[in-house]
């Protein structure tokens, strides 16, 4: 199952995004999240992804970030969380970062 998100993943939007994302977690199988169209991410957004990732793992439906935008790629690189969230990078910048 694949899902694509656009807009911001920031403190301004996380309260809305959390229930949305939880509702999208499938009963079984894998959730593929395409975040390449996300404009802005901050600590709240990153925290949200960690919550979802953990919840997905607990439910036995692995979450995969199929693509991330520049902004998120930078944060993941800064926090060394790219290993944990294991995003597939599809942007040229992501490749070299």
């Amino acid at each position: 199952m694949g899902l694509s998100y656009a807009g911001d993943l920031t403190v301004q939007t996380v309260a809305e995004r959390l229930p949305e994302l939880l509702a999208e977690l499938p009963e079984d199988g894998e959730l593929e999240l395409d975040l390449s169209a996300i404009d802005e991410v901050d600590t709240a957004g990153l925290q949200l992804l960690l919550v979802i990732k953990r919840e997905a793992t607990a439910r036995g439906c692995p979450l995969r970030l199929t693509a991330v935008g520049d902004s998120l790629a930078r944060l993941l690189a800064l926090t060394r969380l790219d290993m944990r969230l294991d995003p597939a990078r599809d942007t040229a910048e992501g490749e070299t970062a």
């Binding site: 920031t10 403190v11 301004q12 404009d39 930078r74």
Partner: protein
């Protein structure tokens, strides 16, 4: 996409210099001449940061911060208060109102840019 900062100060020269510094660092800058004017400019546009003076005519900075924090679209917008070293109590008032960051006047552009880049990533 460049991030947008609203600069609120009744002194035209302060707005000018801060504007020059911020634009030079790649930010978009919007300006307001006092709290009331600033509140009018919180019209739904996307702002990443607000820099506001404390003592201003029409509506002072503290009142402006309180009002801004009531608006859903701006309740999480970081705010830098321009305080002075003789106004420690104003800083506390500003913090209580929701302006958690400050720059002490007199400051020079590099100090302002440092505060800004602590709060928002380029």
């Amino acid at each position: 996409m460049a991030k947008t900062i609203l600069v609120v100060d009744d002194s035209a020269s302060v707005r000018q210099v801060v504007g020059i510094a911020l634009r030079g660092a790649g930010y978009e800058v919007a300006e307001a001449v006092d709290g009331a004017d600033a509140l009018r400019k919180l019209d739904g546009r996307k702002l990443h940061l607000i820099i506001s003076d404390v003592n201003m005519p029409n509506m002072d900075g503290i009142t402006f911060v309180k009002e801004a924090k009531k608006l859903p679209a701006y309740k999480f917008t970081p705010i830098i208060m321009l305080t002075t070293e003789s106004q420690e109590s104003k800083k506390a008032e500003g913090q209580a109102a929701g302006a958690k960051a400050w720059v002490v006047k007199p400051f020079q552009p590099p100090q302002m840019l440092a505060a800004v880049s602590k709060l928002i990533m380029p």
